[in-house]
Amino acid sequence: MQLHIHGRDIALDKDGYLINLEDWDKEIANTIAAQENILLTPAHWEIIALLQEFYREFELSPAMRALVKYTEKKLGTEKGHSIYLLELFPPSPARIASKIAGLPRPTNCL
């Protein structure tokens, strides 16, 4: 699969995840989000940045449980629960948000 943005061809895997994380930029994030029917707001960008931080720290895309715990640790209890993340990235926050953030698909996600 490929994503065409302003004359660039971005390689995607069969599930629509970026193959090369270096390709990622905000425009690509907006495009992938639109395909998921999500309009990115500052609340979304905060979680996207958090996911990328998680990936840098652990070299791993988080499953839901780990994403919730990490959000709680970094952004506090108000945001660190599944409903908050589910509202931002329905229907499967870890999977959808990882895709928008340019990370590989979480392998341990149901």
Binding site: E57, F58, E59, R65, K69
Partner: protein
């Protein structure tokens, strides 16, 4: 019903994929809310060393991934003291501050508390 499952990781990192497979199984099993522990013994304790730079051989860093286990609800992480001693590894050379060090006898009783043992 939640079962007590212990993963026993006894191979050094990187030379084979066994070490990474144990971690992947732990992460996957955590989704099912099982009571999971991991024991590092024999050459498996080499996975716990600080200063691993696995990007030198184009592999993901085991020492980076292991601290994520706590975020997956896996709190029981053990290392076999005699295996550390045999390799002259000191406690301050290890990643993970919640690591529990067990001697031979402790490992024996840990094994006998489990519903399932998985060897890697």
């Amino acid at each position: 019903m939640s079962k007590k499952i212990l993963l026993i990781s006894r191979q050094a990192p990187y030379g084979k994929s066994t070490a990474r497979e144990a971690i992947d199984i732990a992460l996957a099993a955590s989704v099912y809310d099982q009571d999971i522990g991991i024991l590092f013994m024999d050459d498996g304790v080499f996975q716990l060393l600080k200063n691993q730079q696995s990007n030198q051989i184009d592999q993901k860093n085991i020492a980076s991934i292991l601290p994520a286990l706590a975020l997956y609800g896996i709190e029981n992480i053990y290392a076999h003291q005699e295996s550390l001693n045999a390799r002259a590894i000191r406690a301050d050379e290890l990643i993970l501050d919640n690591l529990q060090l067990l001697n031979n006898k402790d490992v024996g009783s840990l094994l006998n508390q489990q519903d399932h043992l998985l060897s890697f």
